[in-house]
Structures are given as C-alpha cells and as structure tokens.
Symmetry: C2
Subunit: 217 residues, 2 copies
C-alpha cells in the first residue's frame, strides 16, 4: 500500500468514514459512489476521493467503492487489525463507563487489565477486566506488551502517573484527565479527550441558531 | 462584530485556542504573536491569522494579540457568555462522570437538573445537581428554558428519548449514546461524542510509530 505523510485532518476523518461504512454494511449496501458517500457524510465527492487517494487507489471509475473492501482497508490503516493491547488506569466514573460501555474490541483493541488505588476495587473484575493495585503497574508493564494506556485518574494524579508510565516505556496514552501531559516535542503519543471541545462547538452552533432566528424576525 | 459563515474546521479549532489562551493567562502572558501562538499549538502563523480573521480583527500588526481580550472574544463567539442552561438525561457512569468531574460552569453552561429511571437515584443530588424521574422531563421543559440536553442514556433508550425531546421543542443535544439520532437534514443540532474517533486516531499514530521504527532498522 502506498504510504505518504497523511495530514491530521484526513486521519481525523477516517473514523467517521469507518462508522459510515459499518452502517452501510449493516444496511446491506455493497457498493457506493463518492457522490452518494459524500451526500451521506456532508463532504464533497472530490474531498472523499482526495482523502482515499492519500492511501492508495480504493475506488474504480464508474463503479464507485466496494464497501466491505474499503471498510477493511480503512480499518487496516487505522491499525485495527494489529491486536493492540491496552490497560486502563483509574476505575472511577469515566473508567467504569469505558470498561462497561465502550466496546474496545469493536475497534480492534484488547483491554486486558485495569488499575486503581481504591482497595474496594482492587481484586474485582468489571466486564471481564480485572482490577489490580496501581503499585503493580510497573511489574505488569515489564511482563506484558502494552500498546496503549488509557489514563482516567483524577487531575492531581495525572502528571505523576504519566511520568511514571513514560519512564516505564509507555509510548501512547489515551488521556481523559484534561491535563496536558507532554510538551509538543515529546516522542510519546498522547491523544487528549477534551469533552469541552465538543460542548463548545455545540454551544457555538446553538448561538448561531439563535442569532439566525433573531435575524429572520 | 463581523459575522460570516464560518467553516466547521475553524469552529473545531476555537476551543483549542481557548484552552491555550487560558493556559497563557494562568502563566501571566498578556501578549502573544501569531508566530509564537502557532509554535505552541503546532499551527502556522498564517493559519492562525486566517482563523481569527473569520471573526473580525483581533490582532495588531507588530503587536500581536492581547491574550485576555482574544480569550474574551473567542469565548463570546463560542456562546460562553450567554448563560445557557443544560439538563442531563441518564445518570449512569458517564452521566456521573460528567456531573462530578466535568466543570460545565467553566464553559459558561449551567447544568441545572438531571433525570434518570433508577428509583435509587431519583430524589438524590450529585455535586449540587438534583435528579428527577425521566417521567418529569416534559413538564420540566415546559417550565424551564433548556438550551442543551446532555444525553447519556443506554443505547436502547437513545432514539425514543431523542424523539421525545425533539417533540418537546429541544433544539440541541450533546449525544454520548453512540447512536445516530437525526438525519443530516434535521434542524436539531446534535453534537456526537464518539470516543472511538479519538481512540482510532491514537491507534493510527501508534501504528505509524511502529512502522517508522521498523523502517529505521
């Protein structure tokens, strides 16, 4: 497969394509044109063709895209077929929401273990994921190849925990703590989940809606 | 203020600017050039100038940006100064995480009430937010102006709840259910929080990192 430097915007759109393709597959759609796919996603056909061209030739002129094949290729690009292993640190509300309601496996990730400081949680198992003491993380990381750490500890614990993880060779953190963990030049990959970004975009659209109504009056 | 149709990409970047400006204010920085701001955010200075130009003239040639003023203006654009009221439906793990750990007020939103079906939760209060039965939502919406509904119910309840809300005049939903609630032409504003989008981007970057290391060997 052709592999070039892919822009961040394209990477961010790939999961949306994947979700749409899963929907199409569920609906029994086998083939789709870039025009039709664009309409369903609110993108222009040319943007869709451009995006997919970053990775190679997926479509065929006059035929459109083979939906299951395209889905498989995007899943591959996203690393969903690589069997990545993840552990979760912090089994509070957000941690429990992730363990119980977020289907890691659907996205090709295997959540193998969780860690917390709370003696009431240690030794328990939620949705098949065992919880151990955070004191055991370092030993665990030595014995197991962990590709991704999901960090859902309280704010105060975020930086010390991240530094400990990085010292122990962790290279990728899915960060739910709302704390900036590394500087822009760090080799560690940190993906921040900022609920506020999404809420503020919504707040913008709400404002825009109110303003348009006022203008119409 | 000049108001034009603003592209979705720009809107999505505004919360990131806001977070950075908050950091700068906390660090006592009063003035910043687009070059410096770009370096800290990983954007080009011209992209930054372009983004801010969508909304009006914020900077001054040779002076740069007044940080607190720019922060205030972006907050205004995002509707943070409009006193929006929100209610939460679904006080499960994710709902509790939002009530207890997410500071709505910091983003200008007032979370005034929560609703659930669980008799053990109804009548309780979490972090100052009272929980009522979902049966009372319609009456509540009639009495109170609610700008945003935060939807954190189980998947099965997502569509019926959303339809009930829309029938009762709700115009904006912050959707944590992972279910598509409305079609692309709906006038209702739905902002979906898809944890998977973020995880898959991370998975991509992890794969990219592994591949680069292999190439170097």
């Amino acid at each position: 497969m052709k592999k070039e430097k892919i822009s961040n915007n394209v990477i961010r759109r790939l999961p949306r394509y994947l979700r749409k393709l899963d929907e199409l597959i569920d609906a029994g759609v086998n083939r789709i044109s870039s025009t039709e796919l664009g309409e369903q996603l609110g993108f222009t056909p040319s943007q869709i063709r451009q995006d997919f061209n970053c990775f190679g030739e997926f479509g065929q002129q006059g035929y459109g895209y083979n939906v299951p094949l395209l889905r498989e290729q995007i899943a591959g690009i996203l690393g969903m077929d690589r069997g990545y292993k993840a552990v979760l640190i912090g089994v509070g509300h957000i941690g429990r929401a992730l363990i119980d309601n977020f289907c890691f496996r659907e996205w090709g990730i295997n959540l193998i273990h969780a860690f917390d400081v709370d003696p009431d949680l240690i030794g328990k198992e939620f949705s098949g994921v065992p919880v151990s003491s955070v004191d055991e993380i370092q030993a665990f990381l030595k014995k197991n190849k962990v590709d991704i750490v999901v960090l859902a500890v309280p704010r105060d614990a975020a930086l010390p925990t991240a530094n400990m993880l990085i010292d122990n060779g962790v290279q990728a953190i899915w960060n739910f703590t709302n704390v900036e963990l590394v500087g822009p030049d760090s080799p560690v990959i940190v993906e921040n989940v900022h609920f506020s970004d999404s809420l503020l975009a919504l707040s913008y659209f709400v404002s825009d809606g109110y303003d348009s109504k006022k203008l119409k009056k």
